[in-house]
Symmetry: C2
Subunit: 336 residues, 2 copies
Amino acid sequence: MHRMTVLLGHGSGGKLSAELMRDVFLPAFSNPILGRLEDQAIVEVNGTRLAFTTDTFVVKPLFFRGGDIGSLAVHGTINDLAMGGARPLFLSTAFVLEEGLEIDTLRRIAQSLAAAATSAGVTIVTGDTKVVEKGSGDQLFINTTGIGLAPEGLNLSAGHARPGDAVILSGPIGDHGIAILSQREGLEFECPISSDSAPLHTLVEAMLAISSEIRCLRDPTRGGVSSTLNEIAAQSRVSIQIEEKAIPVREEVRGACELLGLDPLYVANEGKLVAIAAPSAADTIVAAMRAHPLGREARVIGRVNDGHPGLVTLRTVFGSTRIVDMLAGDQLPRIC
Amino acid sequence: MHRMTVLLGHGSGGKLSAELMRDVFLPAFSNPILGRLEDQAIVEVNGTRLAFTTDTFVVKPLFFRGGDIGSLAVHGTINDLAMGGARPLFLSTAFVLEEGLEIDTLRRIAQSLAAAATSAGVTIVTGDTKVVEKGSGDQLFINTTGIGLAPEGLNLSAGHARPGDAVILSGPIGDHGIAILSQREGLEFECPISSDSAPLHTLVEAMLAISSEIRCLRDPTRGGVSSTLNEIAAQSRVSIQIEEKAIPVREEVRGACELLGLDPLYVANEGKLVAIAAPSAADTIVAAMRAHPLGREARVIGRVNDGHPGLVTLRTVFGSTRIVDMLAGDQLPRIC
């Protein structure tokens, strides 16, 4: 790697993150399970297929419209399990606290985290707390690691997209990133934007119950929908074309993005998913999603194509086509 | 809780840590599995008993004599699984990087972490990386979370000590804490002290293979042997008496402790364990431990007694007896 120090962009979920993975972590840790590069590992213990995933949350500010670092830490890890088709069961939580943090702030976050877990039906079974000196952290960071039960025979993967497949999106994009960013920048909108932070496992359950033709599920968090689609296109060695007019973006989010010079395709979501499915099953899957509160605006937003492996393109509302690359810089640090 | 902000001592593994657990985390997360307060949760998935444990490492400095934050992050989590009698299988690793960290430092640590995992026979199957701005972290923190296979019918617990039981210690204490502290303070000794950081799962395996009379296993990390024994005495509602002359402490560690005004009983270890076992089995267990490279200096250091539930006392080399309380302050921050 030609860059000598860690940059904020190394945590963006985009190109630099991929570079760090390729140049530092994969060579060190190389093994077939990690090498799958999915949001979760699927491991077998005593004949039981487990999903296993970890995520540290460093979101700033700690409290935001629509959630806080505690609820986000639960939803984020549940979603990484759910994207493997697994039923989330148990979470661990590990806190790094900065000396001087208000105990009441910690208590509120712990309670929110617990409430999010209870409401999603997962149990927090083990934990850890570390304290660092003032100035060596930033209030608090939370790691949540989750275990889920992965159904027999199900093998969702970003490497399974095939030409002709439909690209399905569960709802409007960019809410989480814009909620965080507008709060951080002190922007005020007529209709304030809330994070979409939500646990997606019951939506996934409904989708898997109705169709066995789902090839891949991903939640477009850091790096947004564009980075997710780029990963799928690269790992499946296919190209993907999406239709701008099919992609739902709330008016307020679109406005904020224009104001901030952001492309909603690169903005983080915490309660949305992208599914790749056989074309014949797409309508059935979308119908099942729309019957779920978290998928009411689900729709097909594009197609998987042959040729140009790794390429993602957008057909704009004006009919022109442009390349949608991976996030290159550090558009939105500490969004999750 | 009467204290309003987080203090360094809340991360010490002593009284303040217990207070935070009791006043903030347990009321929020309360459930029977977490309430066990063991180093690991034992959960059942599809009839398979899994051990599950999490730990974030914030040790400073990152590299120390006898290890680094990478190897420590592997050993610490393996040991928490092993103390439940479980066979460690899979680890997740989650990095929080501070902007500006040298990539080469990260690479060395990733390689050390990977080497420690390989040598202990565990596989790193999933991970996460976040980056925070310069000044919002301290180089890097690592969370490792582990899954192990817990044998059927084995139920080790700090609540299982009974009057008459033997207290067994696997070897000399205080090495890790003194190695870190002397390096941090720039102290030089004739015989430099190395951390005892090591994976204890094969030692535990040997112990469990030879005896079914082990009630409890604990690794005395933060807060040292004194805090571990206090936890066992409190949870089992017994008292414990240990013999000062029976407790192995290296000459160099004893000297450093005198110099620094520390009691070795409160200093952290990362490659030692305390076992509580039926008195009739103690000799057999100690013999099995001595046959293992990590238990060569194992010995019985005390007894569990009736009465005075929660009290730990030390009979000194002079024949007097003193109370050994839990660690009260923040003797050694960021030791692990």
